[in-house]
């Protein structure tokens, strides 16, 4: 497959940005915005971005860093947004949980389920205009519990709309395990009752996720029907904030360690090395490149001006 380097690069773009956040969030207190990290979950966003075309649109929720960065979201705009600066992608109004850049087709809002029907509406407009673009809704396992998920799925299948539903099942809603919120059957099997294709994939194996998305997207683009992919993955850090939280009682260090062993970046790096596609030096270089860019973008953000208070009431209507 020719896209393996791109997948690694995008995952590193996300990881290095978030490791920068981990480094500076508590220390500097310059990112005053509740921050939901995707460390450990990068494969989904990276695979999605590589499988999509630039005109496709992605809609997501509170844990939006990965999708934003993968869908060609700008590093400098990202760091400046988290630091609340005028050069942020939304001039500091939106923060970490609303990362949105229409120029690259990424939209986010953190009320659970809020953007799922919006993705369906985007798909409706693509159909009306006879475009080949598709819309993607990315959401967590808890978000399927909101009524609006069922309503959106029903609308999409009834109207035969080109929507890819992507559920990042990381087993938890904040600190609540799946078992206290849903019946034991897999989510993708329950969604299948809606009469469109659904499948489940190892969300920490980026090559498998990529294949699943490629197949789904081909189907959606040409059959003009929805498709649902459940990606099994795991959030390594706390729900919101930069810290580890395996000592808080709701999950064990063993569980976290087990998933750390399935790190999507380490797995792809090993494959690329074993198959002699990239050398260790090349992989390290790619990692250093993003780390340096994250560093520069953060430094630049802190030197950027604050939004002007007078601008606050612009763009309300």
């Amino acid at each position: 497959m020719d896209n393996q380097r791109d997948l690694l690069s995008l995952m590193l773009k996300i990881r290095k940005a978030e490791e920068k956040i981990v480094e500076v969030y508590a220390r500097d207190q310059k990112m005053r915005t509740p921050t939901h990290l995707s460390i450990g979950q990068e494969a989904v966003a990276a695979a999605l971005a590589v499988a999509l075309l630039p005109g496709d649109q992605v809609f997501t929720g509170h844990r939006c860093h990965a999708a934003y960065l993968a869908k060609n979201g700008d590093y400098e705009g990202f760091f400046a947004e988290l630091c609340g600066r005028a050069s942020g992608v939304s001039a500091g109004r939106a923060g970490s949980a609303h990362l949105t850049d229409p120029s690259v087709g990424i939209y986010s809002s953190p009320i659970l389920g809020a953007t799922i029907p919006v993705a369906v509406g985007a798909a409706l407009s693509f159909e009306m205009d006879q475009k080949k673009d598709i819309a993607v809704a990315v959401f967590g396992d808890a978000t399927v519990e909101e009524g609006v998920f069922a309503e959106s799925v029903n609308f999409a299948v009834t109207k035969k709309l080109p929507v890819l539903f992507v559920c990042e099942n990381n087993l938890y809603s904040t600190h609540s395990p799946l078992s206290v919120r849903q019946p034991p059957s897999p989510i993708f099997e329950r969604v299948r009752m809606n009469e469109f294709p659904t499948e489940q994939v190892d969300g920490n194996d980026v090559l498998k996720v990529y294949e699943a998305f490629r197949t789904a997207i081909k189907y959606i683009r040409y059959c003009r029907m929805p498709f649902f992919v459940e990606c099994l993955t795991y959030r390594v850090r706390e729900h919101v904030g930069p810290l580890h939280d395996y000592d808080r009682g709701y999950r064990t260090k063993e569980e976290v360690d087990q998933w750390l062993g399935k790190c999507p970046i380490a797995r792809l790096s090993k494959t690329l090395f074993d198959e002699k596609i990239m050398t260790h030096t090349e992989i390290d270089k790619e990692e250093e490149k993003w780390a340096q860019m994250a560093d520069d973008a953060y430094t630049k953000a802190l030197q950027s001006p604050w939004p002007d208070a007078l601008s606050m009431t612009e763009h309300v209507y």
Binding site: G84, P110, S173
Partner: protein, 345 residues
């Protein structure tokens, strides 16, 4: 000194005592039983009564509200908790179309007494969807009691009162009040709905303030007292029912009214208070009414914008001088800002 509790500790105690008094009371909502226990407010109840009466729930705010209604009409006393009141927009259909009009529509034959707690966020860039304050929506529709207690004493009494009455109650708790202490008696007690507190007496200007703005108003009153202006601060405790009498009595005395709310002005609680005065005692007003609330835009994330978006005692001080027709004789001091979010989140 008598026993002091924080606002959060007082909520925790009220829930435990309410559950002791009535075996039908149960607490549910997203994360109520986790280690953080809704900023410490539900943890004690969980530890005492276990998961049969304090339990987690799926992310389904609309359904949860309907579930509370169904349980309530069969004699249960649900307390449904939302970590942000913004999530209650997903519960509005059940709250407004069902709960608020249940008793009335069925001619009093069936009642649905349950409590919804929603927390108002502010600061640390919680932004457009996590730092709204949505009281006016609930107060607009007859049938819901809407309480916004401003201190640790009132919140306990309001919760215990809510667990006794015959109607649905919405309690909005400002997160910035959570760490503020007040004297709270150990024994259970109730605080009446529709009875305002005159938290500071004064003869020159009346401030009617909701929730956190009571706190800010008291600071402002201190500042202007150095300049000889005597401010009366009224805390309505519940905005529905509203204690119009206490408000009118005060404005009749001072002739000057400032309404300070934790939300936007348009069609809001501050507009309501101004209307009550304008309808009843327009002749008492010696100056135009001033309102304090959010600017006309959603709540932005950036610290630079938050600092101007959220009104504080400084805005109230300016409003006091304006209605009093005085030039400030003292500089507005930098008082410690009430911001329980010290970060990182």
């Amino acid at each position: 000194m008598n026993r002091q509790l924080t606002y959060a500790q007082s909520i925790a105690e009220a829930l435990v005592q309410g559950m002791e008094q009535d075996p039908n009371v149960f607490v549910f909502g997203l994360g109520v039983d986790d280690y953080k226990g809704i900023f410490g407010t539900t943890r004690a109840a969980f530890e005492k009564f276990g998961k049969a009466r304090v339990f987690d729930a799926p992310a389904s705010e609309g359904a949860l509200t309907g579930v509370a209604i169904g349980a309530a009409l069969n004699g249960k006393r649900p307390v449904l908790v939302h970590a942000r009141n913004d999530f209650m927009f997903l519960a509005l259909d059940q709250l407004i179309n069902n709960a608020a009009k249940w008793k009335y529509t069925y001619n009093g034959k069936s009642t649905v007494p349950f409590v919804t707690r929603g927390i108002i966020g502010k600061g640390w860039g919680q932004g457009p969807t996590h730092s709204q304050s949505i009281q006016s929506i609930f107060a607009h529709f007859p049938g819901l009691v809407v309480a916004m207690p401003s201190n640790a004493y009132d919140i306990k009494g309001i919760i215990l009162q809510s667990l006794k009455v015959d109607c649905p109650v919405v309690i909005l708790e400002h997160r910035s009040l959570y760490d503020i202490k007040a004297e709270v008696p150990q024994n259970p007690y109730t605080v009446d709905f529709g009875k305002a507190n005159v938290v500071r007496e004064g003869s020159d200007v009346t401030i009617v303030a909701s929730s956190l703005m009571v706190f800010e108003s008291l600071k402002a009153a201190d500042v202007v007292a150095r300049d000889g202006i005597q401010v009366e601060v009224i805390d309505p405790v519940t905005i529905q029912p509203l204690d119009e009498k206490t408000i009118l009595r005060s404005v009749a005395k001072t002739g000057r009214l400032i309404c300070a709310d934790t939300s936007w002005l348009r069609c809001g609680f501050s507009a309501e208070v101004a209307a009550v005065v304008a309808e009843n005692i327009p002749q008492a007003l010696k100056a135009p009414v001033k309102r304090i609330g959010f600017p006309e835009c959603p709540s932005p994330v950036s610290k630079a914008l938050e600092d101007v978006f959220f009104p504080s005692y400084r805005d109230i001080v300016s409003a006091i001088y304006a209605v009093a027709g005085k030039e400030p004789g003292v500089d507005i001091p930098n008082l410690q800002v009430v911001d329980s979010f010290k970060g990182p989140y």
